[in-house]
């Protein structure tokens, strides 16, 4: 077993490899293998795995790539994520990808799917629509039809007809993946000093760009290492970070929050990996039905999904209490309509529940963190002194 520091270093490199080398290497080993890129937040990766594919999360270029061409495609009042992705597409970072999925989370991502269509990037470019009706007979049927379209897209490339057995096997692997990720969050719940939020981020983000089998091995090793003592407890507050489910905050920002005296015990950074809560049935004759049921009944919450009947504000408060958090930091990307339009109502719920909160906005390539650190530091101090 590798030592934890070595694993973390590898994960950091994988997480920010904007050439997606490991996925491309994996594909090169078998002509029937395919790479399907997807944007935040969630796609049922199981079906891609079952079709001899690797699903690669395209989480943006962050602060690791200078944006020149991408800015010529977007007005200043549109978030940063799509311009970084266009830059990567134009710089050939995404060459070798066979297809792209654009989940239905906002108008920017939706229209980006059209831009990829017009540019003819990959062999398919699909806007992956989600049902906003949660009746299994209505929304569930629609969802299965949407999955079916992706299956057809992949079949047209590699001719692999996916079987129920193959999907069940893939579901099993992703069940394990989610279980191990949650295990890490549980360990951090009890002892957040054992693994920093930045380290956790590296581990989860690496899982977006490598085969799930390899990621499961990494997670198992990390869980094993975390059974031992690591680090020292500090006089930090415990916080939940909410609103960064799509465009990712730069590592410097996450570090700044931690250095300001906050243990991030819950976040929505890599939400897609944790979207389905609990296991999906992996022993069924109808695995598409199982995936649809899981989406309808076991999804977590996010600003990008309709919530009348099960409001996000209340779910955030519940989550915060479960994590025994002292406060919530609303940390949304600038110009992110879903997160920013939710914020007032979510803050209201926090106020009603007596949970302190602050908020700030970022771009994925924000470079100055002094103000954020001061704000988070003051938040931490105020809770420690007066809460």
């Amino acid at each position: 077993m590798k030592v934890l520091e070595e694993i973390l270093q590898e994960c950091e490199l994988l997480a920010f490899d904007l050439n997606f080398s490991r996925a491309k290497q994996w594909k090169s080993e078998d002509p029937k293998r395919i790479i399907v890129g997807y944007l935040p937040i969630y796609v049922p990766r199981e079906i891609i795995h079952a079709a001899n594919g690797i699903s690669v999360g395209i989480m943006g270029s962050g602060d690791r790539k200078q944006i020149i061409k991408g800015d010529a495609y977007y007005q200043s009042y549109i978030c940063h994520l799509p311009r970084g992705i266009i830059e990567m597409a134009l710089d050939n970072n995404l060459d070798g990808f066979d297809g792209f999925l654009f989940p239905a989370i906002c108008d920017c991502v939706r229209n980006l799917s059209g831009m990829f269509k017009l540019s003819k990037k990959g062999k398919f470019q699909r806007y992956f629509d989600y049902p906003q009706n949660f009746d299994p007979n209505i929304g569930g049927t629609f969802y299965k039809q949407e999955i079916g379209k992706v299956i057809d897209d992949m079949f047209a490339i590699n001719g692999i007809k996916i079987t129920s057995e193959a999907i069940n096997h893939s579901i099993g692997l992703y069940n394990k993946n989610r279980f191990l990720i949650e295990k890490i969050y549980e360990i951090r719940q009890a002892a957040p000093w054992k693994l920093t939020a930045v380290e956790t981020y590296y581990i989860l983000r690496a899982g977006q760009v490598i085969p799930v089998e390899e990621h499961n091995e990494i997670l198992e090793q990390v869980v094993s290492h975390l059974q031992n003592e690591r680090g020292e407890p500090m006089d930090n507050i415990r916080i939940v970070v909410s609103g960064s489910f799509c465009e990712q905050p730069p590592i410097g920002l996450i570090k700044s929050i931690e250095l300001a005296g906050c243990y991030i015990v819950e976040d929505d950074f890599m939400l897609g990996s944790r979207w389905i809560q609990g296991d999906i049935n992996a022993t069924t004759d109808n695995p598409l039905e199982a995936l649809a049921d899981a989406y309808i009944n076991q999804s977590t919450f996010s600003s990008a999904y309709y919530d009348v009947g099960n409001p996000k504000g209340k779910r955030l408060v519940k989550l915060s209490k479960e994590r025994d958090a002292d406060g919530i930091i609303f940390c949304a990307a600038s110009f992110c309509d879903p997160a920013l339009l939710d914020r007032p109502e979510m803050q209201k719920e926090c106020d009603l529940a007596g949970i302190p909160h602050i908020n700030f906005q970022f771009h994925e390539n924000t470079g100055q963190f002094k103000v954020i650190k001061e704000q988070a530091g003051t938040f931490s101090d105020s809770i420690k002194l007066w809460a």
Binding site: Q75, S113, L341
Partner: protein, 434 residues
């Protein structure tokens, strides 16, 4: 120009529309005392005929917001919404609407709008609609919400599966809630009869919009176009009144064509059509007159626009079908402009440039509206490459006056028109040499 002269150029159709709107808002202001149920819903992909078939009254928050913008009230409303936590970055229609609520929900005619009895979230072509009604649901606790999810035209076409999905939602989610709120049973026959009127009005609207293919164009299909689409995109589709309005409008437009007249502007008739443009994107509402004036002062006429298709792309053949009412409503919702994928939008705009003999293609990019704005710079390049006409790009906002910079927009447009003028001269010279 004096007030009398302004009055003098009002055509009969304008007066009819004014009366229709006054009556509509009067009815809304007395809805509570008369026991009428009120449904808040959105313009793109609306189910107006279905609402009216239950004798309920529709209210369109976007219309209220744009009216607030035109009446110079939106700045205060937006500020009030920002005071309670709404970010400067987000859609100003939403903030204007919420600000209007915070200030007593006084509608465009100065009368109080009734609260909703039903929030019909027709989620079509704009993700923000979803967020908007989640917010309204919390601001009107206890009011039922009916969600109608319209699938996007991802594959550039409408599939039977998608139609079935929408019809199922109508049958099992929307109609039962309408029955519950209105206390009336769904009447399919009544709905069908309304759709006959819808199709008649749609035929007439298409004739009006396509009159702009005539040179000179008898209409401005953007600035005046937003008035032409008013009744059919909102509370009147499916009614006799709408058919009467469009009959009158079409009569007037035909007469203008017969006489070889140009469009009517707020300062009278345009005497000389110098430039014909296709415009993509919504207009700015806070400075609507000033904005329009920049165009007509330069002799620029908008001959086709995408904005006048947000409530239906009728000119591409769609008509509501009384023989298949719910299927037809489903197809209508899925067919609106903002529910088209980007390649479809580019194809449509390219077709407009060609069919309407446009000299140029202009984008008014709206800060608030990602449904339109995200991808517009790529649309612009595609149109330039495919059609060869000069393209222009300006930026403003829907109802936030802080983002309307008159001098900047005027400067850009004047340069653009100079370029179009020079190009015309050169093209004439080339034609003469050939």
């Amino acid at each position: 120009m004096s007030k009398e002269q302004h009055e003098a150029i009002k055509e009969n159709s304008m007066l009819i529309q004014k009366e229709m709107l006054a009556k509509q808002f009067k009815e809304l202001s007395t809805a509570t005392e008369l026991g009428k149920k009120v449904v808040y819903t959105f313009v793109p992909g609306n189910l107006t005929e279905l609402i009216l078939s239950f004798d309920m009254l529709p209210v369109y928050p976007e219309i209220n917001a744009l009216q607030s913008g035109m009446r110079k009230k939106s700045a205060d409303y937006i500020r009030d919404a920002e005071k309670i936590g709404y970010s400067e970055d987000v859609c100003t229609y939403v903030k204007c609407d919420i600000g209007m609520m915070l200030n007593g929900n006084i509608g465009p005619t100065g009368e109080k709008l009734p609260p909703p009895d039903l929030l019909l979230l027709s989620y079509t072509g704009c993700f923000t609609f979803l967020k908007w009604f989640e917010n309204l649901e919390r601001l009107y606790p206890g009011v039922p919400v009916a969600m109608l999810h319209t699938p996007y035209q991802e594959d550039g076409k409408i599939s039977q599966d998608q139609v079935d999905y929408m019809v199922k939602q109508m049958n099992e989610e929307v109609i039962p809630k309408m029955e519950m709120v209105s206390g009336k049973k769904f009447d399919l026959e009544r709905l069908s009869k309304m759709l006959v009127n819808s199709a008649k009005a749609e035929d007439l609207l298409v004739k009006v919009l396509e009159s702009a293919k005539h040179v000179p164009s008898p209409i401005d299909a953007y600035f005046a176009g937003v008035y032409y689409i008013g009744p059919i995109f909102t509370a009147f589709r499916g009614t006799e009144e709408a058919v009467e309005y469009y009959t009158e409008l079409w009569k007037e437009v035909q007469e203008r064509m017969r006489l070889g007249l140009g469009p009517i502007t707020p300062e009278g008739e345009l005497k000389e059509e110098k430039f014909r443009l296709v415009v993509e994107g919504p207009p700015n509402w806070t400075n609507f007159r000033e904005f329009w004036k920049i165009f007509y002062d330069m002799g620029a006429v908008i001959v086709a626009s995408s904005y006048t298709k947000v409530g239906g792309v009728y000119d591409q053949g769609f008509r509501h079908d009384p023989n298949a009412p719910l299927e037809s409503l489903a197809k209508y919702c899925m067919g609106v402009y903002t529910n088209l994928n980007l390649p479809q939008r580019v194809d449509l705009l390219e077709k407009y440039v060609e069919e309407y003999k446009a000299d140029g293609f202009l984008i008014n990019s709206i800060k608030s509206c990602n449904s339109f704005s995200a991808g517009q710079l790529m649309i612009m390049r595609e149109i330039e490459q495919r059609s060869g006409v000069p393209v222009g790009f300006i930026e403003s906002d829907l109802v936030d006056p802080r983002y309307f910079s008159y001098a900047n927009i005027k400067n850009r447009l004047e340069s653009y028109f100079q370029m179009l003028g020079q190009r015309k001269i050169i093209m004439k010279q080339v034609e003469a040499e050939i």
